[in-house]
């Protein structure tokens, strides 16, 4: 169970948010909403352990995630604004790298590509894919192997309707297996039974 208590963070000399409390339980999905600059991406990075809070703490089953960053890293998947692709490698090579990196058998790669309709593009260099195709390739990491916590920053950007549906299905399966999702979005993505958490801009 992921919990934030009394969380506050200062970035670039200004507080982004203060005194934030949020708990995410098994199988739960939390959708972060709020105007631009409210701190959605910041919160996701805090949850991923990529930022350290100025005050308060983030815990997993009661233990601060900062105590064991590596263990926390192994239980989460983070998909940020960047797609983490190397344009010179093919779609398959890109995904295979992440599979190897996390120790998932490379056999899972083709299934993940197919799941996002990228099978036909697998041997093209990632650099020539269209914006939405790149996004899908980035998201295909989610389908590699199960991990408890997904942190998705505007995952639907540039996706067409069919792909959004695929992503919705993937999230559904993930939650059905007890996974948690925290995602930031401005629209799209209709997640049944998701809790909406609205961030207000600090200033």
């Amino acid at each position: 169970m992921l919990a934030a208590s009394g969380l506050g963070i200062i970035r670039g000399e200004r507080p982004v948010f203060t005194d934030l409390d949020l708990t995410v339980g098994l199988g739960e999905a939390v959708v972060l909403r709020g105007p631009n600059g409210a701190g959605k991406s910041t919160l996701l990075r805090l949850f991923a352990g990529l930022l350290a809070p100025s005050i308060g703490r983030v815990t997993w089953d009661g233990a601060a995630i900062a105590d064991d960053r590596e263990a926390h890293g192994r239980r989460l998947r983070y998909a940020g604004h960047g797609d983490a692709l190397k344009f010179a490698l093919t779609a398959r090579q890109n995904l295979a790298f992440w599979a190897r990196f996390e120790g998932t058998p490379v056999g899972a790669v083709d299934g993940a590509l197919d799941r996002f309709g990228l099978g036909a593009l697998a041997d093209l260099p990632a650099g020539i894919l269209s914006a939405g195709q790149k996004r899908r390739l980035g998201l295909a990491r989610l389908a590699l192997a199960p991990r408890a916590l997904w942190l998705l920053d505007e995952p639907t950007v540039s996706l067409d309707a069919a792909s959004i549906e695929i992503l919705g299905g993937l999230i559904w399966d993930h939650r059905a297996a007890g996974g948690m999702v925290v995602l930031a979005t401005h629209d799209g993505l209709d997640l049944p039974g998701a809790r909406v958490f609205t961030l207000e801009p600090a200033a």
């Binding site: 890293g73 983070y78 604004h81 960047g82 797609d83 983490a84 190397k86 010179a88 190897r100 990196f101």
Partner: protein, 221 residues
């Protein structure tokens, strides 16, 4: 270990498959060594005297040329976040990236160094010693360079800041490396210089990986 091999493999593939950095490094090295006699005039004896310095400085600068993209590229496309928050020890990731960097810049330099010796008129003993010192010294350059690259990742105009941070730290390697070649050409004992180069490498192995890993974790903040 998975993570180590995966990163090593990917970075090598990017360096070689693309034809990019390896070609650049070797090309740059050979051309720079060719330009030097052109610019300074052709007296051979004098050339051979400064040749170790020229080749070693070439190695330094070639390393530097490829350093600034070591982590910056990963930062820009978002991979760095995943590499650091992916559950693998960050020092392992750094070590893999250093090794890949060395295999794609340092090692090629070691391999072409006999050609450069020939171009600049080094004698046999000097050529062999040049190869040895480069082999011992260039991994240190990659390791120390990683710290500079890590410290400046995400900083504006990182490239030249790296140079200012890292070059002073390269000085011992340069002195021992070029010095040993000079000694070898004079027929003197090079044991202590080589031992020192080895010692510097051993020290920079933990210092470089841990330092760069700590620096990168900062950058992600």
């Amino acid at each position: 270990m998975n993570a180590f091999l995966a990163v090593l493999r990917r970075d090598l593939r990017l360096a070689f498959a693309q034809g990019g950095s390896v070609g650049l490094v070797v090309g740059f090295f050979v051309i720079a060594a060719t330009l030097f006699p052109l610019a300074s005039g052709p007296e051979r004896a004098e050339l051979a005297r400064v040749a170790p310095a020229v080749i070693w400085i070439g190695a330094l600068l070639a390393t530097l040329l490829s350093l600034d993209r070591m982590f910056q590229a990963d930062l820009e496309d978002g991979s760095l976040d995943l590499l650091l928050a992916g559950g693998a020890p960050s020092s392992l990731v750094v070590l893999a990236k250093c090794l890949a960097h060395w295999l794609s810049t340092g090692l090629p330099l070691v391999i072409v160094s006999p050609l450069l010796s020939l171009l600049l008129g080094l004698d046999g003993a000097g050529t062999i010693m040049l190869g040895k010192t480069l082999l011992l010294g260039t991994p240190t350059l990659s390791l120390i360079g990683a710290v500079g690259a890590g410290l400046t990742v995400g900083v504006r105009r990182a490239g030249i800041l790296i140079a200012v941070l890292v070059l002073p730290l390269y000085v011992p390697v340069l002195i021992f490396g070029a010095g040993a070649v000079d000694l070898a050409m004079l027929g003197l004992d090079t044991g202590p210089s080589l031992a020192l180069l080895g010692a510097v490498l051993l020290v920079s192995l933990p210092v470089g990986t841990l330092g760069a890993a700590a620096a990168l974790r900062l950058a992600a903040l």
